[in-house]
Point group: C2
Chain length 395, copies 2
């Protein structure tokens, strides 16, 4: 008998599943495999030189203050700078609305800690972000899932769920959703906010990709539309670099004492040094130009993947061409399984993530997700070609 | 009605108390106040130049890898280097026993998440570290407290508590305890391990100060004595700098999949950049010399505070002279209250933390804690003089 079974580890922790994505990532890290499985930003696009400059500026300007303990809410100067930065999209935002988190994953965890008692319901999209499910599952949430179409979550289904399940919050990824790539329309956003107001519950707006649009017009964000009805999660991970684990939660000011206490229990505060580096990077004024560059690069990779799919996948495979973000979502012909096909794809040295883990209540067996941000042009064409062959061979 | 009351925040979160220490820190940050309230390492002692060099090395050697996502268990090279570093004190340690955490506070949270169901009992010292109580309180732990004497937790009281409360683990701060400054004797450590083995539960060995000994001989650590019976928490916060939020949890290898999953739910992984900086700092070989320096400095500050207390405090105040760590623990004469006295101390421009929050089940009204690491010689003498006067005036 192993040590931890002998000890009193709580049942719901023993029952937590290992992240299937992390398992697939291990598989797909074998040499020679072309992987569309991860969700990583392209490392060659990190503004390495500018971040090194910002790190040296942090030492130069703040000395030991960038190495000392700091506030649970975040470094005050960073909260101010983030408020300035976000004000282009969220006119009403103030530093008092911002809590710095250790990555958006911690934002999800803080929301879960604040709202979820075991058995509580959450409304979420079907499919939805699997990392959010991980955080919510720890607190033994249950899910009322709502289907999506090209305009995002089908809000007509939400009111029924609100009446039936008395959920704690509505969780959405409204922009270039992970995994589906779908963006919620303005009309749907307004309808969802109306419902949240009517039923007195918050919308959790998970928004890591909002600034990564490659075509079309921005849709006004949920926090800008809904104000204090909305708790938003944003992060530097996809627009600058994930390695500092610095993200931020935007919430009503009167909710902040709750999040502050929960943050204190979790890790006291997010790392001071990373906050200072990103403060200096924001102040350098280089982020807008950098965003243009990654939009160009990722947009071109998306276009190339779409072109390769049109060339190499059989017509029976359908897919969503996303206007932004990192992912392309596809559906296999009836009778096929994304999970079963993966073993064969790995044999052919190409990897993806199959879709079923993104369905909180099961389903999605024919779906799979392709990441286009972290592969070279050659890898995209060759990988899609291999995958197309595998699909054709197994139809 | 405020937003969050209208929303469904869980009851036990609404009931969480604000950190009293954080409240006192706000009070004591007024200009002109000499504060012995915090637990901060001295910022002028941070190896700023060497850390800046390490940060530049991290960019130079790892490029975009120090900016990318990393493993939930921690950067492999750092886990290896930590195993090497710890092997001087823990002969059997391997990288597989090490999980990098976002500060020791997260280590406490991960332990709480893994073991505590609402209402579960924990055995802890009386007094004990208030930050641990915060993490454990979130999961609605109850406490079986065990008194301390000069040799630490009185282990004779532990078996009764084990039988009566069926606790999930035994939490101890065995070296220069925060707040009492007491170090657990070798004999007590061995007895405690025997009991933990007999009753099949882990000892949580919270050890941020173990390397900060200013006099006497090291006592062999709990993990070295007890092996896989012990889960240890160590941190760079007190020996290098807290601003990177990099610490580590040492646990049995077969327990690691549990902690890995719980870590994934919490924040995916600790910040890559800070891990790389501390990896390079460890590899530079400068930590042992730096430790000598801070031991000298903090040891001299402790001596000065003891000397000032002997000169300025009335004889009726008793105190523990610690062999290391950051804190000196004192007890007021019968009839006085550490809490009541604080208001008067703040008026006289000197601050401390009163002792009652460190008592999980109440008590300790006469006690208070003084930090000696983060004050200049002049501040120590003047602050203790002011405090002595306040005590005499209120006896």
């Amino acid at each position: 008998m192993t040590t931890f079974k002998k000890w009193g580890v709580v049942d719901h922790v023993l029952n937590l599943e290992n992240s299937i994505i992390r398992e697939i990532l291990k598989l797909s890290s074998q040499p020679g495999i072309i992987s569309f499985a991860g969700g990583l930003p392209a490392p060659e696009m990190f503004p390495e030189t500018d971040l090194r400059e910002a790190a040296n500026q942090a030492f130069e300007k703040y000395h030991h203050n960038c190495l000392q303990y700091s506030f649970s809410m975040g470094v005050p100067e960073l909260r101010q700078e983030l408020a300035n930065y976000c004000s282009a999209r969220i006119p009403e935002i103030r530093p008092e609305n911002i809590l710095v988190t250790s990555g958006s994953q911690q934002g999800l965890d803080l929301v879960a800690r604040a709202f979820i008692d075991p058995g509580d319901y959450i409304i979420c999209e079907q499919p939805t972000y699997v990392g959010a499910l991980q955080s919510f599952n720890f607190f033994q949430a249950r899910y009322a899932t709502v289907e999506m179409d090209d305009d995002g979550m089908i809000v007509d289904q939400v009111e029924e769920a609100l009446k039936r399940y008395n959920p704690k919050f509505i969780y959405v990824v409204p922009n270039f959703q992970n995994p589906s790539g779908i963006t919620m329309s303005l009309q749907r956003r307004l309808e969802l906010i109306d419902l949240a107001n009517k039923y007195n519950l918050p919308i959790i707006d998970d928004n890591p990709y909002g600034e990564l649009r490659y075509e079309g017009e921005d849709v006004t964000g949920l926090r800008a539309l809904g104000g204090d009805t909305v708790i938003s999660l944003s992060t530097f991970s996809k627009i600058v670099a994930p390695g500092f684990r610095i993200a931020w939660l935007i919430a009503p000011e009167d909710m902040m004492p709750v999040f502050e206490r929960v943050k204190q229990c979790s890790d006291l505060h997010s790392n001071t040094f990373g906050q200072m580096v990103l403060l200096e990077y924001l102040r350098s004024g280089k982020l807008p130009g950098h965003l243009d560059l990654i939009r160009q690069t990722y947009g071109a990779r998306r276009d190339l993947m779409v072109k390769a799919i049109d060339e190499y996948f059989p017509d029976e495979v359908t897919y969503v061409k996303p206007d932004g973000g990192l992912f392309l979502w596809a559906t296999l012909p009836v009778g096929m399984s994304g999970k079963d096909l993966l073993a064969k794809a790995i044999e052919a040295k190409v990897a993806y993530v199959y879709g079923s883990p993104f369905f909180a209540n099961g389903g999605g067996e024919r779906t799979f997700r392709l990441n286009f941000s972290n592969a070279s042009d050659e890898q995209i064409v060759e990988g899609i070609k291999r995958l197309g062959n595998i699909i054709k061979e197994n139809m």
